[in-house]
Symmetry: C2
Subunit: 266 residues, 2 copies
């Protein structure tokens, strides 16, 4: 296989990264992909930097075994905690979701006040803080951990009284802060966008890094002369637990059914 | 060390098993204990039987390395999915939390209608069904998965509007079923007892298997002539991630602070 027709590798702890895979497949339909969901150890959001780095390295090693030409860390927690280490160790380009999301947020804001919603791991890492201030040091950033959002999304409770109450609890300090731009700093959160929009002031802009990440990948592929020219792209999917259950839930994230999901062990 | 003064090993995916450790320490204050919380891979409740069995075997092997004389699987999901395999492979007694909980529920019920609340893994395993019908085939059992309870407890949202609404959602079918006895089939759930009691009819009895499990351990130790006679019992605690955070949260489960928590890797 020519180097440019090798697949793009994408990994996440579970389902959330499928929002990034979806954006990639829409923007770059000619690209082959290999997705890995580490269901046997999810979630990553409430684990330490050491543990998340170890898991990310194991996921990267597995995908490298499938001859990927570029790696997308489609998980905010792993991007926040493990990206730098992966970029240092791997010889292929490694893309996270945080810098693309931060760039989009910095572009959107009018009042310079940006709020970031994320898992405990992502928020504690201050990765969005750093990325946003690198882009524009005058930005004012507020970070809000939302640990119950992932379980709610995993359960499919995307709307309704409970989810609205939980959203209100997390969003109240964001409203008080006066953000005009809110970064959905976890790949699960875009599925909560209707609930979040109902709770936030109507003029607040939600930023989902999936599309921005796909655009960043597209730029990098051109830069490294790695764009594929496959007439019919192939998409492989591996999970570390229960492929059948993953298939049932994947459609909600991907927008279309996912077939051919294989069990693997890291 | 004489065989009877070797410690009792207790493991769970995280904090929940501390409710069992607490009951053990209260009933058997002369016993040495070694606790293991597998925080790096929690929760177990939404993982497959294969994965939970593998994790349970690794936890057991670690505790055997600390010369335990008896193993308590202080996690309902692991008890439901991995107990039999552990009992077959290990030469020491292995105790789960399901049979003691089922025995207590069967003793309590007056109308023969018992509801079990648990994680998805525990409920799918039908382990409580089997245990209850083994004790009394005429019992009528209703099983309700409550996947959002563990994240709520882990976040410390033990009471309040959101937790009450989630509890009402899960408990409504239990009320319609007409149970007079409800098994808290996850070691996290006893912390939600005040909320559950407020949602259930006042005459319904909640069954928490922690005390029943400790009594079962006590019986087994006498039976195997393994009761300790240490003047001052020692308690070791290992976790696979973030000992400091575990220490902060442990008091809520154990009722007193936990010191001397060590990091380990399975």
């Amino acid at each position: 296989m020519s180097p440019s027709n090798r697949p793009i590798g994408v990994f996440d702890s579970g389902l959330g990264g499928l929002t990034v895979l979806k954006a990639l497949q829409q923007l770059l339909p000619q690209e082959n992909t290999v997705y890995l969901g580490d269901l046997a150890r999810l979630p990553y959001g409430n684990k330490s930097a050491e543990v998340v780095c170890r898991y990310a390295q194991e996921a990267a090693a597995f995908l490298l075994g499938h001859s990927i030409k570029l790696l997308v860390v489609a998980c905010n927690t792993a991007s926040a905690l493990a990206l730098e280490g992966l970029q240092k160790r791997l010889s292929i380009p490694v893309v996270g979701v945080i810098v693309p999301g931060a760039q989009q947020a910095a572009k959107h804001t009018r009042n310079g006040r940006i709020a970031v919603l994320g898992t405990l791991g992502t928020i504690r890492s201050k990765a969005y803080h750093r990325a946003l201030l690198d882009i524009q040091p005058s930005l004012c950033v507020f970070a809000q951990p939302c640990p119950l959002f992932v379980p709610l999304v995993e359960e499919g409770w995307l709307q309704g009284e409970v989810t609205t109450l939980v959203a209100r609890h997390y969003i109240q300090p964001v409203i008080e802060f006066g953000a005009d731009t809110v970064v959905l700093g976890c790949t699960h959160y875009p599925l909560l966008a209707p609930t979040l929009e109902a709770v936030l002031c109507p003029e607040v802009q939600l930023v989902d890094s999936a599309v921005a990440t796909a655009q960043h990948v597209s730029t990098l592929l051109r830069l490294h002369a790695l764009c594929a020219n496959t007439p019919q792209a192939s998409h492989l999917c591996f999970v570390t637990d229960e492929p059948e259950r993953f298939a049932q839930q994947a459609e909600r994230f991907l927008g279309h059914p996912l077939s051919n999901i294989l069990l693997c062990r890291l």
